[in-house]
């Protein structure tokens, strides 16, 4: 049994390394390109490693006021819209998972239909709406749009997990004197933690990478989020590919950091032995 278990560990670790390399490799190429001087990117034949390492590219991007304000806007929009979407989705998902009511499937399907429109087609209407509300060029416009876009996913995934949590657990809590809300807060939510974390990651990444609505609604230079600001490094007039790559790498970092912070909550294991 012992050697078999060790073999399993080695095999799993090997597979893990291979998987990690597979997913990261293309971005390592991008990182290396970001460390090259501009002229080397057009070298023929190309070489993988930079001849003259130029880490200053990253400093250039970090010092760039456009990048700084873009980072501020993106972080605000992604964080607040994620909180909004998850907070609004929890009651909707709980209700549709636990109560049967007329039009429940219709409601869930309608929520799903909102995902079927590509955002491109919604841009004109959204612009008119936010113009009337006087919200063009404010973070609030992007926060509301992103929260609404990501609500459907949050409702669907939370509903799936609420439905899979045994009802007996809540009943037990109610027998012990918990209110319905207390049972939701103290029993269901802790158990659904992996789903809440997944919904939050999804909402954050989607808001972080949203492009078309931001491009349309945010016309002031200092209100553009990162996705829109990135494109200013390569235009018809200037082609700073190395800076674009450096900024793209930097734009991935906050997502990975957030993920590293909440990843431990992805593991629940709490349900083990909860129903006998």
């Amino acid at each position: 049994m012992r050697p078999a278990r060790r073999l399993r560990r080695v095999a799993l670790t090997g597979a893990g390394v291979a998987v990690a390399a597979f997913f990261v490799a293309p971005y390592v190429v991008m990182l290396l390109d970001a460390l090259k001087p501009a002229a080397e990117l057009r070298a023929s034949p190309p070489h993988v490693l930079p001849r003259a390492w130029q880490p200053g590219n990253f400093l250039d991007v970090v010092r760039d006021p456009v990048f700084r304000s873009a980072l501020r806007v993106s972080v605000t929009v992604a964080l607040v819209s994620t909180l909004l979407a998850v907070a609004a989705a929890i009651p909707a998902a709980y209700h549709t998972a636990r109560r049967r009511f007329r039009g429940r499937s219709a409601f869930l399907f309608l929520v799903l239909v909102t995902q079927m429109f590509s955002p491109t087609t919604l841009v004109v209407g959204l612009y008119r709406e936010f113009f009337q509300l006087g919200l063009v060029n404010t973070s609030a416009a992007l926060i509301l749009t992103n929260a609404a876009f990501n609500l459907a996913f949050a409702v669907w995934i939370l509903r799936a997990f609420f439905a899979s949590i045994p009802r007996e657990l809540e009943e037990a809590a109610e027998v012990d004197g918990c209110s319905r809300l207390g049972a939701l807060l103290r029993v269901v939510l802790p158990l659904a933690r992996p789903a809440i974390v997944t919904a939050a990651i999804f909402a954050f990444i989607a808001a972080w990478n949203e492009y078309i609505v931001a491009l349309t609604l945010m016309t002031d230079a200092d209100m553009k989020p990162i996705t829109v600001a990135l494109t200013s490094y390569v235009t018809a007039y200037v082609q700073h590919w190395n800076l674009l790559f450096a900024a793209s790498i930097l734009a991935i970092v906050p997502v990975i950091v957030l993920f590293a912070l909440i990843e431990p909550y992805l593991v629940s294991g709490l349900t083990a032995g909860s129903v006998k």
Partner: protein
Amino acid sequence: MSRYSITGLYQGAVGALNYRRLFEQEALPTVVANTLVWVVAVVGLTVVISLVLAQLLDASFPGRRVVRWAVIVPWAASLIITAKLFVWIYDYYFGALNHVVTALRLTAEPVDWLGNDATVMGAMIGVGVFVSLPFTTYVLLAGLATIPGDVYEAARLDGASAWQTYRSVTLPLLGPALLVATVLNLIYVFNSFPIVWTLNDRNPGFGHDTMVTYMYKVAFKSALRDVGLAAAVGVLNLVLVLLAVLLYLRTVRWQDAEA
């Protein structure tokens, strides 16, 4: 919702003319066929590979956290950037893929992945799967995390093999997560624009377009420059997505009733 009113306005003046013209377009059967191949291949491969990946990321081994961070990277990077990166990787002269393929002597000559009619769809599907894997894997991983440990214990006590346990315990309990992952993938892959747009950039005509890129080309890029016709393509696309999702939901529910 506003979409109905906008397309409604377009339709108001010309009636069903745009729809009639849409079905007269020579490219339409090709584009619809491309879309179906693209959606079925990307969603199918993604779900199957993600089931394996989720199982791996759920098992405990040293360095699992780092592997989990790595898997999230393609999801964290913006799609346009990833698509551009893959144009570079597939490049005929300088691309990493041709270096690997010729070094391993899989082909004698380098392959023009994005210029050859036989390989361009496969190349695009590869990137589609690559960027869809993280999302799908994490939904399934969250699903695995909520399966109580004692059901596995029970299966072990009953003497079930690993494969039997997976088939009759894990997979059914993973059902809700699998449903969410597949339905949302179906929608996102149907509406995915950047990958096909960027990788199919140099090919003329509509030979490798999906509905979404076809719609954009009809409106802004081709000789047609026809917003009305593009709107008709958009509506047809929406109908196809709806049908696909309904079909999938019905199949799944029907299977649930059988089990």
